[in-house]
Structures are given as C-alpha cells and as structure tokens.
Amino acid sequence: MKMHHKLLTMITAAALTAGVASGAMAADPIKIGVAGAHSGDLASYGLPTVKAAELVIKDINAKGGINGAKVELLVEDDVCKPEVATNTATKLVSQKVNVVIGHICSGATKAALPIYRDAGVIVMSPSATNPDLTQSGDYPNFYRTIASDDAQARTEVDFAINNLKVKKIAVIHDKGDYGKGLAEFAKKFIEQSGGKAEVVLFEGVTPGAVDYSAVVQKIKRSGAEAVIFGGYHPEASKIVTQIRKKRMKTTFISDDGVKDDTFIKVAGKNAEGVYATGPADVSSNPLTKKYRDKHQKAYKAEPGAFFDNAVAATLALTNALAKAGSTDSAAIAKVLHTQDVATPFGDIRFDKKGDAIGVGFSMYQVKDGKYVQVQ
C-alpha cells in the first residue's frame, strides 16, 4: 500500500514536497525542526538551542498549542558538517516539518538551505552569521535572530576608529569560516574609512599551533595600536596572553566568539581591558530572565551559547505560525516581515533579507573579570 502511494506521488511529481507547506488541519500537530550540532566537538554550540526550543514549546503546549494544534519538535543532529546537514534537512523535509530552527554553523546552513527552499520550509537560525545567507538573495526562506558578521565587523571598526581613535590596526584571524570572514570585513571597512586608520597587518593564525609568539612579534613590529581578532576564544586567549607576556600594551578587540566568560577565565588577568562585541545586553529583559531562570531550574546550569537567540527564534516562529493561522510559508513570512514579536531582544521583526531588525551588536570590555557594556 505504501509503495503504491509512493509510486503515485512519483508520477504526479512536483506536488511531493510543495504539498508540505499547504495548510495543515488544525488537529494536526505542528512540526518544528531543530537542527544543529548536537554531538561531536561543536555540540556545545548546538545543544543550548535545543534546550531553548524545548523550554519555549513546553510553555506553548501547556497553553494549548498554536491555534489548538500541539507543537512537536523534531531534533536532528548535523554535527556542523555540510554533507551531514543535507541528510538532516532531507530527513526533516521528508517528515513534513513546518518550520526549522537552525542550523547552527554557517557552512551547514548553506548546504541545507536549498533543500528547505525547494520544499518551501522557512528556516530561522539563532547563530549562523555568514552575511551571504541573507545578502546574496539566494535563500528567501532564511531568517536569523543574530546579526551578521559584517554588522559585527562594522561595530568593531567604528569603535576602534571613533572611540579609541587608533590609527594603525592589525587584523588577525583564525583561518576559519567565521573568523576569516569577519576579519575580511573588518579590513574592508578600515580601508573604506577614508584614511582615518590603516591595516598594518592582515594575517591568519593556525588554531591549535603550539605557540603564537612569532605572530605576536610581528604585531609588535607592525606598530599596531590595536588588534582586531576574528575567531573564537581559545586562540584569542592564547594571543592576548602572549601579547601581555611580551609586555605589549596593544589594545585587543574581538568578536562574539570571544565574548564568552570562558575567555576571561582562561586568560585570567590578561583578559583585563579586552574589548569584544556581543549582542546588546538583554539580561534585564523580562523574557530573557524568564527563560534563563527556567533553564537554570531545569538543568541546574547556566544556558550556553546562542540560548537567547534560540529563544527569540522559537518565539518569532511560533508567533508567526499563530498569527498566520496556517502553516503556509508565504503567510508565515508575511507575519515575520510585518509584525513585531516580543523576544529576549525586545520587539523585533525581520527585514526583507531576513535579518532581524533591532538585533545588533554592542561593545563590551573586560573590567574586573567581567564583561561590561561600553556606553
């Protein structure tokens, strides 16, 4: 029987996947996919999103679901690998998922998006920051609750030039997708600053190398007043530590991957004075508080990376599903673009490209072992 059914769809063709998005009956559960790295060495970036989605959906289901339909989460692991992400996406699509929260890594997201696009599934990532995802126009079905790398680079460069008034900047990156992308934008923006500052060094370091002192010597020789680093905290703390060990006073400016308390704890006193961009401080927002408390209660631990962004994504998607009154992707998209939704980042909506309006970056500085927002 099943085979017969399948053959039939083969013949009738095109409708196979397009049918997924067409309005489900109210009694049908709404399926939300959660995809990202849930195992392997990048699991710590992906698991908080799963927890965020679970916490939010639990609330919604407790209140009777969306328009009377229960919400069901389909959690799928992509280990942050593009080739696995396509399998994950195919699995979710073949399970007739309505919307997807994810993926976590930009590379995996890029690989998975065409599959969702062809199936008409809306995807919202809490963490994929690659600018192309929204700016290329290739993925109209993509949204995100985090600002893109270029916005972050812009914040860093503006801060360095306007607030710190530095003239010579060394741009260092970790050769990774995220770090190098960011560094290239930073370089571009500095060069476009009309001579207010110059890039004296642009270089990648090798993650995991035993020693960074040669690069640090190079920074020293370049006479840079500030270093803009694109990458994650393990490399950042190594570089900062070696800079301070060489008794250099170079200002260190970095990104969201470094604005992590682990960085301060690893780098210790050397972290003092380091600048890092991060999402605006939202800890006073009641929604943020609510979900962070819930997490604390449920798991006896602080929420991890991108938790707030994931809460925002889940809230935005469920809100859109509810307001649209159907699971039709065009209807959902319309709500996402036109109506504000309350999230940990305040009331947000999405611009034409899919970036959240109102989710931006602020600058933080390490003071007495804590990140403090710079006014």
Binding site: K2, M3, K6, L7, T9, M10, A13, A14, L16, T17, A18, S39, G40, D77, V79, K81, P82, E83, T86, N87, T90, K91, V93, S94, Q95, S106, G107, K110, A111, P114, I115, D118, A119, N130, D132, D138, K175, G176, D177, K180, G181, E184, G204, T262, K265, V266
Partner: protein, 410 residues
Amino acid sequence: MISFKDIQKGLLVSLWFVFLTFPLMVIKVNPIERVITWRWQNMGWVALGSFCYYLATKIYKARKLARQQQIKLGLIKERVDWGQRLLSERKIYLPVLIVVGLGFLIFPLVLSTYQTNIMVTALMYVVLGLGLNIVVGVAGLLDLGYVAFYAVGAYSYALLNMHYGLGFWTVLPIGGLLAASFGILLGFPVLRLRGDYLAIVTLGFGEIIRLILENWNSFSHGPSGISNIPRPGFLGLHLSLGHSITYMYYLMILMVLFTIFVVNRLQNSRIGRAWFALREDEIACQAMGIDKTRTKLTAFALGATWAGMVGVIFAAKTTFVNPASFTFLESAIILCIVVLGGMGSIIGVIVAALILILMPEYLRAFSDYRMLVFGAVLVIMMVFRPQGIIANVRRTYKIPDAIKPKLSRK
C-alpha cells in the same frame, strides 16, 4: 576453556585498566569553577569491560590455536571462510545476489526520501572504498591523503560550474581526470618511498591541499566555501528534491556497478596481478621485470580517479563545498572501510562501507561514539582479523582443455 588462572589474570588486567583510566574516566574537573566531579561508577564499567575483553580475546585465541592444532593433526579440514563460500558456491550467491539486487532496485520506491538520501551517501563511500581499495588493498600502498583527490573532484565541479557554467555530466569525467593528474603529479616523486614514509607523505599532501583551499580565497573562496552548486540535471528537466535524490540514487547504483565491473576486471588482469605481486614482494617483483614506479603510479592514479568522480558527485549532492569536509578524518574513515572489509576484497569493502556509514546514521544515540568505534575497529581488525570481514577471494584461471588431462594425474 577458561581456567582459574585466566580469571585471576583477567582480574589483574582489569585492575590495571582501572588504574590506567582512573584520572580520565573517574575524575572530571572544572578548573574554572574549581569543582571536582567524581564518577565512581565509571570505574566499575572499566573494570567489567576490560575483564570481558580480556576473556573474550583469551577464548578467541584458545579456539584458534585448538583449531590450528586439529588441522595440523588432520582431524578436521581447514574451514572455508563463510565469505569465501558465499562467493564461490553458485547456489548460495545467486539467490542472495538477486534478493540484494532487487532490494537496491526498489529501495527508493518503498522508503522515504531521507532513507534514499542516506543510502546515496553510503553508496558514495562504497565507491570511495573501492577506489582506495585499489591503492591500499590491492597494490599495498598506504595512502592517508586519499581525501585530497576527493577534494580535487569536488572543487573542480564547484569551480568549473561557477566560472564556466559547466554541467555535472561534463565535469564528472573532468573531475576524475584532474584527480588522476594530481595523483600522477604526487605519485611521481613519492612512489619510490618506502611504505610508511609514503603514508606520511600522502598525509602531508592531503593536508596541504586542504590548507591551500582554506587560505587561497581568490581561488577557492576560502573557508566559507562555495554554495549553490547545481544538482545533476536530467535531460534539462527541473527536478524536485525527492526526484533529484531518487535520480542520484540510481546514478550512484550505476556508478557502483561500473566501479565493481572495472575494479574486478582490473584485478583479474595482467596489471592487477602485478599489483598483488607488488604488495607481496617489491624486490622480487622488479626482478621479474615489473616496472615498480609505473605499476604503482597506475594504481595511485586509478584510485585517485574514483575519488575525483565521487568528489564531483559529492559537490552536486551537497550543493555546497568547503574545506572542512576534506580533513584527515575523512581519509581515516575511508581507510577504515577498506581495512574492515578486507584488503583487496570487493564485496568486503561494499559491506563494510554500508555498515560503517549507515550504522551511525541509524544509531544516532551512539553518534558520539562513532569515531571511537572507527579507531577501535582499525586496531581490532589488524590484531585479530587482518584479512577483513570478507577475505579476498582467490582467483581461478581457466585451464585450457589440452592441458587438463595431464593435470588430473595427481
């Protein structure tokens, strides 16, 4: 079979492992919060696990020894390997082949798109395994940088498509040829190296290719990769996702059949014989007039060709490539397939690829243990069953009728 002494020794072994794994398995520290977590239950698991492992190996060895002795005494005949039997007896393998063949044929019709998609991945690894099998299994050249040729294939499709709009079918042979040329380029200087040095040089080469892809932005778009690579077209029709995957599935089935056909023919040829001989004894091989470098180069380049072609398919399937997909780990997985399957054994490699790629996909709960298991598989196979799960089958030759009668007078 197990004496008291064995148990005693087993206990000692497990005690040793408890000591060995104590700091890493039992203690977990959080140096930031300065908290220690003691996980005493792990100690029990380690003790139990190592005890069982010890006894299992003991029994295995004892049985093997007993069997060998019995064979020596002529009490029993050498047992024919079940893999061998499966392949040599027509009344066993014919029905199996038909059932399996039919199963594969209707696979995408009965199962979901997702299942089909995973199967496509597994089939890709089958072909990769068969390709590496030519190099490692048949010719005995340990290539730890096989993934480099895979990357060459994938990027040749991505780049040629992006810059010149070349289609999948055009690039498929080009990718294979490019990978082969890379194979020859690398092989020419390094193939005269001794086995273990060759392994390291190929490892280095694999890493160099990846690092270049990562750093040379203007050429390869660096770590952010190349996206929007088109899937293979079918007579210019636009296919939906489900159809496209089904299409790729049959494509891969054809590819696998083609590979089996070619590899089988090659193994049973003058060249294949030379590869086997080369693996057995290089010096004798040369003394028999076989050009060592050339023969190795042929194996290397042919292996690379397959990696290149699967690379093209990979790019088309994923629609996205970045250097992170081509790490040493990938080479290690493919090597694991060849080793588990049995060096030189076509059917073994196919079975191993299906097991190793499908299993973690279906046992997602254990996906964390995937690489751990791969590592253990390599060690255990080498120590206990170096010929693989299905050992290479002995080749037979057709003896001309004119000579037959003379041979029968034994």
